[in-house]
């Protein structure tokens, strides 16, 4: 199979990974019969490959997270797992979904957000009414009701 080796700088939950190509179009052999989602690939040792943590397999058209292991037999074993986000990026972006949280919405939503951390401290605003019939503290009034 033909693979490209990359160094991935992004977190796994990033859809479009920030990757740097190490070596392109390497012909490698899988380690025995492997799964498409979690293949294991064996390469001849090359010190340039040691920074590899991300792989693209041409035959399957998928990106993989790779864990690199150097063996005593002067080989490099890449234990891979498919990155569905990067592999199907265009498909995902063109899909519709019910969006429940989004950084792009900023504060435009009025939906209560229990995740949002709040301070226990508050600031108070007093908005006085235009008319203040109860003002004049200290003025006492008595209503004396008498029989006519």
């Amino acid at each position: 199979m033909t693979i490209d080796l990359y160094n991935n700088k992004s977190q796994n939950n990033v859809l479009s990974k920030d990757i740097v190509q190490i070596k392109k179009d390497i012909v490698a052999k899988p380690y025995d019969a492997v799964s498409m989602l979690n293949p294991v690939i064996v390469l001849d040792y090359n010190a340039d490959y040691l920074s590899c943590n991300y792989v693209y397999i041409h035959e399957w058209g998928r990106y993989y997270y790779a864990t690199l292991t150097v063996t005593t037999a002067q080989t490099i074993v890449l234990t891979c797992s498919v990155d569905v986000l990067m592999s199907f990026k265009d498909t995902i972006l063109n899909s519709t979904a019910c969006i429940t949280r989004s950084a792009s919405k900023n504060h435009g939503t009025m939906i209560p957000d229990a995740t949002y951390p709040m301070s226990n401290n508050r600031f108070i605003k007093n908005i006085n009414f235009p008319q203040q019939p109860f003002k004049d503290k200290g003025v006492t009034t008595f209503i004396l009701e008498v029989r006519n």
Binding site: V84, T91, I92, A97, A103, K105, I143, L144, E145
Partner: protein, 766 residues
């Protein structure tokens, strides 16, 4: 006038007026009422008051008389009122008395009809009301069967004596005859209880009667035995304990002379007996009338502790009476024996009772009758009369179309004998004065300046202003005042200020509506943080309480508040409007009653504690300290032994202390737990407790401080939303559910699931 012939017969069968005919005492029960004007001796006259028995002509056949009714009332519609004449003793004009509408307010009088089986001796001795609006005389007699003693109720108005200009007096001589026990000489031969009541009227220039604004000096109350003062030395004070029981050997006691004797001072256009002076009675020994005897009788209040006889000249003695307060209950009981409705608060200007309506006026007393129709001396008043059929103002019996047969059928269904008096009283109206603290002080002074009037008849005069005070409510803020200030009058008492000028005050209407105006509630964060539980909106209304405003309802809308204060219930109805439409309302007590009854400190303390527990900032520890200070202020200031108005002053003084305490409250920060909305809190303690609250009506808004940069929060968590859209329209941290994938080749189910799981946790989109 229409006459009910069924009861009274036709007018042509009525007793006529016979000029120059003195009724035959042997045939008639009658009494003499002699009126003399000491200052105008030329006009002195002596009158006989006759009953309908004269010339054996009864107003109706005795068999038609409704015997089940022991007491009959006479009112303007009663033909009985027209059956009485006055005969001048020495010739002259004859007067026919008619009941004038202006006298309906008089709480008189009765026609009595005894139970013929139990008291046959009184069966034919009718007693009638005698009245004359035109000649200013009003007199009536009733028989108290319970005592088997005639009791005279004399109502006399001043005729020619000019009280407006003269220091004057009048005398009435009342002779009481007892035909049953002394058929030969008609005079009492044993001590009778004679009850004298005098109401004085003054005719003003407009020929309107005006009640004398004071009690005449001789107007002593209670039930007084006759005593012979001639046996006692002059200018000596005696303990009346020695006079209470009269010797049965007294005979020939045929007349009692009561002399009006008082010092009158001008006040307010009418004259008044100087308040605070010792009442005096005098008796005159020089009258030339035939009814004077050698016996010198004085009329001494049973409750007078001491009397003192003073000889002022060769012919006159004055008896000074010193009173100890009689029991008002005893007096009322005595009145109840008379069997007619009576009042201890005759505010006669308000006659508007509707016939047939139930009288529950607390100042109108209804006598009780036993199974024989005899008064028991017990009485009901106020709500106690609600289940009493005879508490109805008037009845079908008063109707001119009354049919006694029909009435008898009704009587059979009644449990109680019926006493009917034609609505002589009135339902009262009230005046509410808006007074300042200074004004209240003047009122207190006015009340305290007048001696304790504690007898029924004196209260009829309206002399005791405290009787006219219905309620006193305290409002810790200035009330709007409209109209024209008017003189503060309590009963007959005109309140004056410290300078002696008449105290004036605005009158309060039944209610006022105060608008606080509008507040447009705007967002601060313009997102969810402007709503609960993050932000709170509390409507604070001084002396009323707090009310939570729901941001979901009012944000970006206009909040308006109106406060309607009801001066009848002293409650405030607060109307909360959203965009000028009513959203909610609440009713709270806003006026603090400082009524005439004493309050105890515990009541205030509990009210304070209750109010505090209901108020939002109960949690402020300083409040508790303030409560303690409040209680301390009351307990240290209020003199519970003082008058209620003293209590008012004490409270007001305490209020100033509370104001100081209020600052500690005012400065407290709201410590609102952001995990729970603030509950609606309405003070139920009224203005007294709330006095130390802030007096600015406002909307108190609290927002939380931010603890995280919004960009950082967005990067890490995104902001909540709930919308459906293409993911390419979003960026940054995004969570999503229910992803509808665009067509794609070769994606396994596991990969779809993985993508869904990833978006559940959050994916950072480009």
């Amino acid at each position: 006038m229409q006459v009910n012939n069924d009861i009274y017969g036709s007018p042509n069968t009525w007793h006529d007026i016979y000029p120059d005919v003195v009724p035959n005492k042997s045939d008639n029960a009658y009494s003499d009422v002699k009126v003399a004007d000491f200052g105008y001796s030329a006009s002195s006259k002596s009158w006989y008051i006759t009953t309908g028995k004269a010339n054996n002509r009864l107003p109706q056949d005795v068999n038609s008389f409704d015997k089940s009714i022991a007491i009959w009332g006479i009112g303007a519609k009663s033909a009985f009122a027209h059956m009485v004449g006055i005969y001048p003793a020495s010739g002259g004009d004859t007067y026919t008395f008619d009941v004038q509408s202006s006298y309906d307010q008089m709480p008189l009088l009765l026609v009595t009809q005894a139970d013929t089986n139990q008291y046959p001796e009184f069966y034919t001795d009718y007693n009638y009301k005698l009245s004359s609006a035109g000649d200013y005389y009003k007199c009536g007699f009733v028989t108290d069967f319970n005592y088997q003693s005639p009791i005279a109720c004399c109502f006399i108005t001043a005729a020619s004596t000019n009280f407006l200009t003269d220091r004057s007096y009048k005398t009435i001589t009342v002779s009481v005859y007892d035909y049953y026990h002394s058929p030969n000489n008609y005079h009492v031969n044993y001590p009778y209880v004679l009850e004298g009541r005098v109401i004085m009227y003054i005719y003003d220039s407009d020929s309107k009667t005006t009640r004398v604004n004071a009690t005449p000096a001789f107007f002593v109350n209670g039930y007084r035995p006759f005593i012979d003062l001639s046996t006692y030395g002059d200018d000596t004070q005696y303990n009346t304990d020695y006079f209470r029981l009269l010797p049965n050997s007294y005979t020939g006691a045929q007349s009692t002379i009561l002399t009006v004797f008082g010092n009158y001072t001008q006040r307010g256009g009418i004259l008044d007996v100087a308040i605070g002076q010792t009442p005096e009675e005098s008796f005159n020994t020089s009258s030339s009338t035939a009814y004077n005897t050698s016996l010198q009788l004085a009329y001494v209040d049973n409750d007078a502790k001491y009397i003192q006889k003073q000889r002022s000249d060769s012919n006159n003695y004055h008896v000074l009476c010193y009173w100890e307060s009689p029991s008002e209950t005893d007096i009322l009981k005595k009145f109840a024996f008379l069997g007619f409705w009576f009042t201890d608060n005759n505010t006669a200007d308000n006659i508007n009772a509707t016939l047939g309506t139930q009288c529950t006026n607390q100042h109108v007393y209804l006598p009780e009758f036993d199974d024989n129709g005899i008064t028991t001396g017990n009485y009901w008043a106020g709500t106690d009369t609600q289940d009493k059929p005879n508490a109805s103002w008037g009845s079908a019996r008063d109707d001119i179309n009354y049919n006694p047969d029909y009435e008898q059928a009704r009587e059979d269904e009644d449990d109680n004998p019926v006493s009917n008096v034609l609505a002589p009283f009135s339902f009262e109206s009230t005046t509410k004065y808006i007074l300042t603290l200074r004004g209240i002080q003047d009122v207190r002074k006015a009340i305290n300046a007048i001696p304790d009037y504690d007898t029924v008849s004196q209260k009829w005069y309206g002399l005791d202003p405290s009787d006219f005070v219905i309620s006193l409510y305290y409002y810790p803020f200035a009330l709007p005042q409209t109209g024209t200030p008017e003189t503060v009058t309590i009963g007959q008492t005109v309140v004056t200020d410290t300078n002696g000028a008449e105290l004036t005050a605005y009158k309060a209407n039944d209610y006022i509506v105060m608008s606080l105006g509008d507040i447009a509630i705007q967002p601060y964060y313009n997102d969810f943080r402007d709503y609960a539980p993050y932000s709170t909106y509390t409507l604070y209304l001084p002396y009323i309480g707090t009310y939570n405003i729901d941001a979901a309802i009012f944000l970006n809308h206009v909040l308006s508040v109106n406060v309607a204060v009801d001066f009848n219930t002293h409650t405030a109805v607060v109307t909360i409007l959203r965009d000028r439409f009513v959203y909610d309302y609440m009713q709270v007590q806003i006026g603090e009653s400082l009524n005439l009854s004493a309050k105890d400190v515990g009541t205030y303390y509990n009210a304070i504690a209750t109010a505090q527990s209901n108020l939002t900032y109960t949690k402020a520890s300083a409040v508790l300290n303030t409560i303690a200070n409040v209680a301390k202020g009351f307990s240290s200031t209020v003199d519970m032994s003082g008058s209620p108005l003293d209590l008012t002053m004490a409270f007001t003084n305490t209020a100033s202390t509370l104001l100081t305490d209020a600052h500690s409250i005012k400065n407290q920060k709201f410590n609102i737990d952001n995990s729970a909305p603030t509950p609606v809190s309405v003070s139920n303690a009224g203005g007294a407790v709330n006095i130390y609250f802030d007096d600015i009506a406002r909307l108190i808004v609290t927002h939380p401080y931010k603890v995280i940069d919004d960009a950082l929060f967005a990067q890490q968590f995104g902001f909540a939303c709930l919308e459906v859209g293409a993911l390419l329209n979003y960026s940054g941290f995004t969570t999503a559910t229910n992803i509808q994938f665009a067509p794609a080749d070769g994606i396994t189910a596991a990969e779809y699931s993985a993508i869904t799981s990833a978006f559940a946790k959050g994916v950072i989109l480009p």
